[in-house]
């Protein structure tokens, strides 16, 4: 009977270590996109023609990219997004700073801010259209008013949570008011400002599409709404996907780079 204790150790075939691949963010992204495509495919089979096929949508996206009308709508919507984003960010940040630094301003503005945060965004859009008509101004005002309270609130809370020992240092070294603002206070709230800007941008482009769908004759939102009215779901999906991709690219590309540059001291 062979002695089982005197086993011969044979070299085991070395299996490849997949851990780095499985844990990489790229792998997760590929899995996520693959899952969406599978789900889309299943939905397209189940709910034809309301959910368009993947290949038909891709063909439509390609023809959109070659269409002058699409780019005209895209440029107009982008302009609306950027102008609303800029005004809401600047006004919101200024208001947040004022409320954060001044107790009287806070006592006056805080209830208004709380109320503004509680109002659903479509209400602003409806009231702006009722008050100002369906022109450019209505959308701009509605978007600014809808986004501003969020930005102001984020900035205010971060101004109040700042490191007061740095204020004391600035006072002891007699730093001028402008320098205290630009070198001591603002850099402290840069992370909050960037969060506010990301939030503001994300909210702006979604609301612009809604405003265009409700009250504008042109722009991506209006184009999507027109395609929907004519039940051209392939066009709805193609236009929406292209616009979402462009906005994501802007948010991650431009804002991401700004963030990296402004916060390089943390690396």
């Amino acid at each position: 009977m062979p002695d089982i204790n005197s086993s011969i150790s044979l070299p085991m075939p070395r299996s490849r270590d997949w851990t780095p691949v499985l844990t990489s963010p790229w792998f997760s992204a590929v899995i996520a996109i693959g899952s969406i495509l599978v789900l889309w495919f299943v939905m397209a089979q189940a709910f034809r023609p309301w959910v368009p096929d993947i290949d038909a949508t891709l063909t439509e996206m390609w023809s959109n990219l070659q269409s002058a009308d699409f780019w005209a709508d895209f440029a107009l919507t982008l302009w609306r997004v950027l102008s609303a984003f800029a005004s809401a960010s600047l006004l919101g940040a200024a208001l947040g700073l004022l409320i954060g630094l001044n107790a009287r301003a806070e006592a006056f503005c805080q209830p208004l801010l709380a109320l503004a945060l509680a109002v659903p965004d479509p209400v602003y859009i409806i009231f702006a259209i009722l008050g100002l008509g369906t022109g450019e101004l209505a959308g701009f005002v509605a978007l600014t008013i809808a986004v501003l309270p969020f930005v102001a609130n984020i900035v205010r809370s971060n101004v109040q949570a700042r490191d007061m020992s740095l204020d004391e240092m600035a006072q002891i070294y007699h730093l001028p008011r402008g320098v205290r603002m630009s070198a001591v206070l603002i850099p402290q709230i840069v992370p909050a400002l960037l969060t506010a800007m990301r939030f503001s941008f994300a909210l702006s482009w979604k609301l612009v599409v809604v405003v265009e769908a409700i009250g504008q004759p042109n722009g991506i939102g209006a184009s999507i709404f027109n395609s929907f009215r004519l039940l051209r779901m392939r066009e709805v999906a193609a236009t929406a996907i292209l616009f979402i991709l462009a906005m994501q690219l802007l948010e991650r590309g431009v804002l991401g780079r700004v963030e990296k540059k402004l916060l390089r001291w943390r690396d």
Partner: protein
């Protein structure tokens, strides 16, 4: 030159600080002369911070007067004192490089802009941190950050420098090295220093004089002149002897005798 021959940079008379009915500092009287290194020694919570807030110009005293280079502080129209401050934690701006942190302090001083670069290079060289001129503070060790903080205080041509337990957060080896450097730098730059600490040995090693405060509300219990020449050695047995002597002297004013009796009882 004797101490008395030097003009007083800082003169405090009948200084009192109170918060409502609670007194933090009671009737302090002292003078600090140009180039002197004076340690202020007191137990925790005795009112050292309240006193520092007055000497730094942050808070006005409840009573008494403070003179800096002959000019009275806290009078209508008086200017804030020109001083350097080394805090317990470095309080550097993390989003500015070492050079930029120093420049920002210089921007508020009367130092002409064309001499900033030279002065910064000089002071960084004295403190042995020239290689970190363009570094972010977060990349530096605790000792290096505190060196930058000391550089910032020295750079602004201060009438006097307040140091609030600046070495208490460092490990003992780093703190010991910095103590030795601090004495030589202060001698070299003839800086007038008010150094707050609760370490008796540190006070004895660094200072020309030690103002021993009582438990809060703080009063001056004793103005103790350190009878040692410079340079000093931290392990010199005479420093240990003076330390033991001061420990004996603070038993009563710091309430240590009563604590011991209570413990024995």
């Amino acid at each position: 030159m004797t101490h008395d021959a030097r003009p007083p940079v800082l003169k405090v008379t009948d200084l009192g600080v109170s918060y409502g009915d609670s007194e933090a500092v009671l009737r302090l009287d002292f003078e600090i002369r140009r180039g002197e290194f004076v340690a202020i020694l007191g137990p925790s919570g005795c009112g050292k911070s309240s006193m520092l807030n007055v000497l730094s110009g942050l808070n006005a005293p409840s009573r008494g007067r403070v003179f800096v280079e002959g000019a009275e502080l806290f009078r209508p129209g008086s200017t804030a004192p020109r001083l350097g401050y080394v805090f317990q934690s470095h309080r550097l701006l993390p989003w500015r490089t070492v050079r930029q942190n120093l420049e920002i302090a210089l921007a508020a001083s009367s130092v002409p802009k064309d001499s900033w670069d030279r002065r910064i290079d000089e002071i960084l060289s004295i403190l042995h941190i020239s290689q970190f001129k363009e570094s972010w503070p977060m990349r530096l060790s605790g000792g290096q950050r505190q060196r930058v903080s000391i550089a910032r205080a020295l750079l602004v041509d201060p009438a006097y420098i307040l140091m609030d337990e600046p070495l208490s957060t460092l490990d003992e080896v780093t703190a010991r090295a910095l103590r030795e450097e601090l004495t030589s730098i202060c001698q070299r730059t003839e800086a007038t220093v008010v150094f707050v600490t609760h370490s008796i040995r540190e006070a004895v090693f660094l200072a020309d004089r030690v103002l021993i405060l009582t438990r809060g509300p703080a009063r001056i219990h004793e103005d103790y002149t350190i009878p040692l020449d410079r340079p000093r050695d931290y392990d010199d047995p005479r420093i240990a002897e003076i330390e033991a002597d001061i420990v004996r002297r603070v038993q009563e004013p710091w309430g240590l005798v009563r604590q011991k009796e209570r413990h024995l009882a």
